[in-house]
Structures are given as C-alpha cells and as structure tokens.
C-alpha cells in the first residue's frame, strides 16, 4: 500500500479502524489520503470531469458504507480501487447504452501489431512531458478495460494479483489485458509519432520495479 510519506501505515490503519467504528473525521482523513489516487483512476476511466467526480464520490460513499464489513488485514487501497473501478465501469456502461456506441470489443482477436521500425532519430527521449501527454491521449483511445488495468499497473503500481481483485477478473484475463493494452498504447504512440523509443541500452534487462 502506497501512502504519501507523511502518513505512516500505522496512522492509516488507525484511521481505517476509527472510520469503521463510525468516525467521520477519520474517514475524511482517508478521503484526503486517497482522493488523488481515486481521481487518477476516475478521471481517466470516465469520459468527462463530471462523471469522474460522480464515480469518485460513489466510490467513497460505498467505502463508507462497506467499512464495517471490511476486513482490516486486506489492503484498503485495493479495495477502494475496486469500488472506484466498479463505479467507473457502471457509469461507462450506462453511458454506452445511452449512446449505443459500440466501442472496440475485448473480443476483437489479435490486435494487429505491425509496428514500424522504431524511429532512430536522435531526438532525446522526446521530452517526457510530451510523451506523457501522448500517453494520456493514447489511454483515452483504449477500450476501458485495457485502460483500467494499465493505469492500475503503471500509476497505482498494483501487482497482477491486486489488479485481478480490483477489476474482478482472473489473473489470466489481467495478463492478457495488460499485454494487449500495452501493445495498443505502444502502437498508438508510434503511429502518432509521439514515441521515440528509448536508447536501447541500460534499461533493457531490468525488470520493472513493481
């Protein structure tokens, strides 16, 4: 569980216990502690700020209601992200039904990954900020289920297991969504010319810090 450094796990634990017991002050502290992470998810999963806010609010209200039943030895954050992702997906599905827009389906088999040769331009790892903006755009181009697992992996830094719990899918599904999602994102970045692959040197062979 990652908390801002200013909050110790013990402190967080104490807030969770107190909030479970009915302390609204303690729950408010938890809201402050997690609102950024929750919004990090809702703002990218939901199409607009209003929905992002609604989903975030729904997640926290559900957390308040569910806390008495929450077993403290589990990860509060994973549980909260699960509530968050559920709230987003519900909104998305409702939205989809309203607009009857058939988005890309997860069942679309084998995404065609025909990646052009990485541009060899010496353009120094094209400014991180620029790439970041492109990643944001790329994420929006992904089907929501792929987007969700990638964000949970890269931004929230959850393990595959935690992601599986969060999105209520089995491990195999999570693996495949991450893999396809990442390939799609990479393809998007390459195609939009926003992606200059990194110097293929030092980082290779280093596993992601999880």
């Amino acid at each position: 569980m990652k908390s801002p450094p200013s909050v110790s796990p013990e402190q967080e634990r104490a807030w969770i216990d107190a909030a479970r017991g009915g302390s609204q002050d303690a729950f408010e502290a938890l809201v402050h502690l997690y609102e950024k992470k929750v919004f990090a998810l809702t703002s990218r999963l939901c199409g607009n700020p209003e929905d992002a806010r609604e989903a975030a609010q729904e997640a926290f209200l559900a957390a308040w209601q569910g806390l008495p039943f929450f077993r403290g030895d589990a990860s509060f954050s994973t549980w909260l992200y699960r509530l968050t992702s559920n709230a987003c997906m519900d909104l998305l599905r409702r939205e989809q039904r309203r607009t009857s827009a058939a988005g890309p389906s997860l069942d679309d088999e084998e995404i065609n990954i025909d990646v052009p040769s990485p541009m060899e331009s010496p353009q120094e790892a094209a400014e991180r900020r620029e790439l970041r903006a492109a990643i944001e755009a790329g994420l929006q181009s992904l089907p929501p289920d792929y987007r969700a697992v990638l964000i949970l992996r890269e931004l929230h830094q959850l393990t595959y297991d935690e992601i599986a719990q969060t999105v209520d899918a089995d491990l195999g599904t999570v693996k495949s969504r991450i893999s396809r999602g990442r390939k799609l994102l990479r393809k998007f970045l390459l195609e939009t010319g926003n992606f200059s692959p990194p110097r293929p040197s030092k980082e290779t062979g280093k596993e992601g810090s999880q």
Binding site: F39, S43, F69, R71, R132, Y160, A169, I178, K206
Partner: protein, 326 residues
Amino acid sequence: MKYCAEYGALLDAFVDGELSPDDSARVREHLKTCGGCRSYVDAALAIRDAFPDENDTEVPEDFAAVVMTAISSGAAPRETVPPRTEPETEPSQTPARRRGWKKILLPLAACFAVAVLVRGIPLGGASSGSAASPSAAMDTAAATAAPPAGAEAESPAAYAGAAQESALDAQEAAPAAGEPEVGVEERAAATEKNVFYTASQSAGSAETSDSGAPTEDTANGAAPTAGAETVAPAAAGGTFAAASAESSSGRSVSVTLNAEQRKALGNLLERFVLTEAGPPAVYRLTETQLHDFLAELERLDIAATVTEPSDGKASGGGLLYVSPAD
C-alpha cells in the same frame, strides 16, 4: 522490428516483475540477442517512465467536503444490524415494504420501462436453506448469522445481510413450508403482495428521489458498530466477499436464467461481486449496478423479482440471486 513469437507472451510479465526468477532469467538472456523483444521491453519501460502519476490528477478542491457532507446528511447510511427480536410480525411489515419498493421502483421505472414482479420473499436464503424448518433457519440466522445450508463458509460477513434475509424468508415462507423447492410464482402467492409493475419511459428525473436517508440509519451508522461485528463474525478470509457485503441488507433481486438468457446477458454478471457460488449464485451489486442490471433485464425481457429491505429502507445496492433454470 517486432518482438518474437516465442518470448512475446512473456515480455509484459517480465516488465511487470511477474515472472518467476527462472523465467525472468531466461527472458533476460534472450533480450541480449533479440532486438525485437528488446525494443518492446524498452518501449514498455519508456511508457512506464513517462506514465502520468497521481500528481497529474486534478482533484476538485471541495471534493472531500462534499463527500463528508453527503455522509453526514445520511446519503450513504450504513447498514444496521436487525435487533435480535426481529422479525416482526408480518402485518406490520407489509406497509413498510410497500413504501420501500415504491421508493426503489418509481425512480427506476421512470428511466426504463421496468417490468418487475414484486413480492415479499427473497429467494436466496430460502432456496439454499429449504431443507431446514423455517423456525430453525430463523433461529440460526438471528443468533449466529451462520450461512444457510449449502453456503460457502468462506465469507461469513457477506452473510450479515443474507442471513438476515433468510430469517425473513423463513418467517414469510411459512405457508409454503415443506415444499423443498418453491417456484417464484408460488412463493409470491405465499404472501399477500404480488404486484406486476410496469411503467413507461417518461419522467426521466425521478432518479434522485431516493437519496433521502432514513434518520435512524444515520444515527446508527455514526454509532459504534459493535452489533455489525457481532453478526458478521470476523471469522474468515474472503476479504472481498466480506467487503462486498456493504449495505447487504438492501434490496434483493432474484432472477432465474436459462442458458439462452445467460448468454444474452454476456459478461454482465462477471462484473458483479460474487459472494456465493450457489446456486443460486449471490452477487453484491451497487446501486448503479442494480439499476443497470434491471434495465438490462427489461431490455432482454427477462422477469425478475425485487424485494426491498426488511425494514423498508433502501440504502443503495443490494443482493442479486441468480438461479439456473431447469
């Protein structure tokens, strides 16, 4: 350059640190000689490096305040444990129930043409515990919140609500006692309320009308939840099953699906939190999910049975019981 087929499937897990040390070493070795795979891994790491972080997220300044206001105004009342003296006698429950389902269904009906069979008996506990005598089931539920017969023992907390309902089942199903498997219609007939409710797609704004919070719940929610912990014994793991029991004494929806209907629903059910494999399978749904699910049933013309909470208060979300058709 494309990564190679042989190792392609391992690369993401490698990047994410999800491989065994052995596999990881194999991949690392392979990367030394395979430009395609190396390029993929480099790309993945570059994406990670530049990935937005939480500080790239705008949170509305008043967000926490709004959430807390909602909570203190009772918009998200916590479930309270039924007093041990429950259940009440049937006649006194009936009016509350009727109020309850109206509160639930009118908003739903306003948005979608909902055709719902309303009756007084939740399906879940009754069907799984049908062998036990009603009073025995009731005692069990009230005293220990033990799962009904046939239930998984892994998620006791999830039973806080289910057990409560099974107590009610036992009580209300008394007329039908002795029948091992009672069909929906028959059960409905066992109570006095059997309403087929249909409404059309006109008033779209009624949705917000049920946010009013029962004050009693609010008061209890703010109080220590010793009761809740008594009824939901902290016995076992099943973290998410337990967590998913939030407001589990909300309404319940029962539906019987044949293979075709199940197929028509696609992976919708998979999105819900499964708290019991069943049958009937028991899912925990949020308010929104419940709302959407009923709409989907309506669209597919599948009949469902909705039961509001025993205390007549709808507090958001509820349980879904899915039984296979014979």
